[in-house]
């Protein structure tokens, strides 16, 4: 768990964030023809990064390796799809809280049933719950079954009959995703610094000792599981809005594993690491795919190389670099 970012690192991250925020300006010049596609790609990556950060709260901070986290991501998307009227826009102030509430409740129940286990058993139980979610939507006619469901009109924010936020606008949606990314990061940073977050981080290091000090680890783990599931649902809600489509694959273990790789590659317990992991993995995927049909091969090689060379992920490398030089040794 990293509580304070060294100054150098903070600067690097702010520069990266600024480059991302200004992409709609410079991207158009540099990538001309591919610009529209890249805008969509980056928006999608930011949403996955939100999912990855929420998983980091469990895996990196509390030491709870969940292999079913995407279930809440998909659930958030499905709530939007189910609540959207066919020919008009849903009111964001209704569907978003509804999606978050459903995901909070679902993660509370799943969390309650799974946090009693630990280690490999926790992985198994969360995997099983994730797959239950997958088959629930895969087999339910009302939710479109294996074909998934469409959201024909994106939710809007209206005030006094005027559309305040039009999510159909690609540029608007890009900044909404960026805003949520930064917001979720800030929220999680605040949580980690709070008394709750300190206990949670300690549970990740030595749960037995935490209990000996007078905290009930189960309660903290359950609250963390619920927060993480709700934030994952927020990500899924955004993903469904972006693509106008949800499918059972959003909930499946492939998706859960994919996000877990982002967290591990990026650097567990650092929050910014999983965000970098999401960008690295997705951009590398895109780059390799445009070079060769056998893109899975270089992807696999890259993942193995990062894991072998950087046991603490990309964030670990950055932290070492910034501390080493920052200390002026």
């Amino acid at each position: 768990m990293t509580l304070h970012l060294p100054k150098r690192l903070a600067i690097v991250l702010v520069v990266l964030l600024a480059a991302l925020a200004l992409f709609p300006l410079w991207g158009k010049l540099v990538f001309a023809a591919k610009f529209a596609f890249l805008m969509q790609k980056l928006t999608g990556i930011m949403i996955l990064a939100i999912l990855a950060m929420s998983l980091d709260l469990l895996v990196g901070v509390a030491g709870l390796v969940s292999l079913g986290h995407a279930a809440f991501f998909g659930l958030g998307g499905y709530v939007l799809a189910m609540m959207s009227p066919q020919y008009e826009a849903a009111n964001l102030w209704v569907v978003l809280p509804a999606a978050l509430a459903v995901c909070a409740l679902a993660s509370l129940v799943v969390g309650y049933l799974s946090i009693r286990t630990s280690g490999i058993y926790f992985i198994m139980v969360t995997l099983a719950f994730g797959q239950m979610g997958y088959y629930f939507f895969n087999d339910s006619k009302a939710a479109g079954g294996s074909d998934g469901a469409y959201i024909y009109v994106k939710p809007t924010v209206e005030a006094f009959g005027i559309t305040v936020l039009d999510l159909e606008q690609k540029l608007t949606f890009f900044y909404v995703a960026l805003g949520v990314l930064v917001g979720v990061y800030a929220l999680l940073r605040m949580l980690l610094a709070s008394p709750f977050g300190r206990v949670l981080g300690a549970i990740g290091v030595n749960e037995y000792r935490v209990q000996g000090l007078g905290f009930n680890p189960m309660v903290y783990k359950l609250v963390a599981f619920t927060i993480a599931g709700t934030l994952a649902g927020l990500g899924g809600f955004l993903a469904a809005t972006q693509y106008g489509f949800v499918s059972p694959a959003m909930l499946g273990w492939h998706q859960s594993g994919h996000v877990l790789v982002m967290v591990i590659l990026g650097g567990m317990g650092t929050l910014f690491g999983p965000v970098l992991g999401a960008f690295i993995l997705e951009l590398a995927h895109f780059a390799f795919e445009s070079m060769t049909d056998h893109w899975l091969l270089p992807m696999g090689a890259m993942v193995i190389a990062i894991v072998l060379l950087l046991p603490k992920g990309v964030a670990g490398l950055l932290l070492q670099w910034s501390k080493g030089k920052g200390a002026g040794e």
């Binding site: 008394p195 709750f196 300190r198 037995y208 000792r209 007078g214």
Partner: protein, 254 residues
Amino acid sequence: MSQSDFILETKELTKVFGGLVANSAVSIGFKEREAHAIIGPNGAGKSTFVNLLTGHLPPSGGQILFKGANIAGLAAHKVTRLGIGRSYQKTNIFPSFSCFENCRLAAQSRLASSMKFFRSASSYKAVSEQAEHALEAAGLTGRSGRVAGTMSYGEQRQLEIAMVLATAPQVLVLDEPLAGMGKEESEHMVGLLRDLARRYTLILVEHDMDAVFAIAQTLSVMVNGTLLESGPLDQIRSSKAVQDAYLGDGAEAY
């Protein structure tokens, strides 16, 4: 003896692991503000007794009375909140946290609730002060910023004590605080423990007999999961049964 004599008392406390009886009907009373040492050979069941006292293991039978109320079977986090703090035979800290954060977290456990999400933990001044005091009391002033896992073994043992102190306990249960310490480190720790014995009810599991005689007023001897004898230091020292069973030939070894 009336109940009010003891702040903490076990009655017929028993723990069975499979077929092994690790504690067999152990009844010991601990008086308030008394330093009470528990000795016994390896495997006698001392750590098991500590684990039972502090809720780290559920007893198979018997009672644990704290201020007259039976707390047997209460979970560890609830027992420590009642004011029974413990240290561990095998160093049990958060090695990746700073020395101060280890203690701060311990002190934080005395907030009514740590389900607080919005304020930074370091802004709780009373908690930080309590942690500072505990570090000072354990002789770790000036070590605050060190990553706990990188401190010397002796310092980590001191931190172990500091963390218990930071939870503001009434009863201190220390499981072999001198385990694995060098001579100099030991002397330092014995000084610290003598100091603590003046301010707390102290239950001390220890192998080092010199230390025990320097710190404790009362002594209990455990052998094979049973309590052999319990009483004032001098009385136990001259007890024939204890001499035979434990102090006997082994005494020179200490």
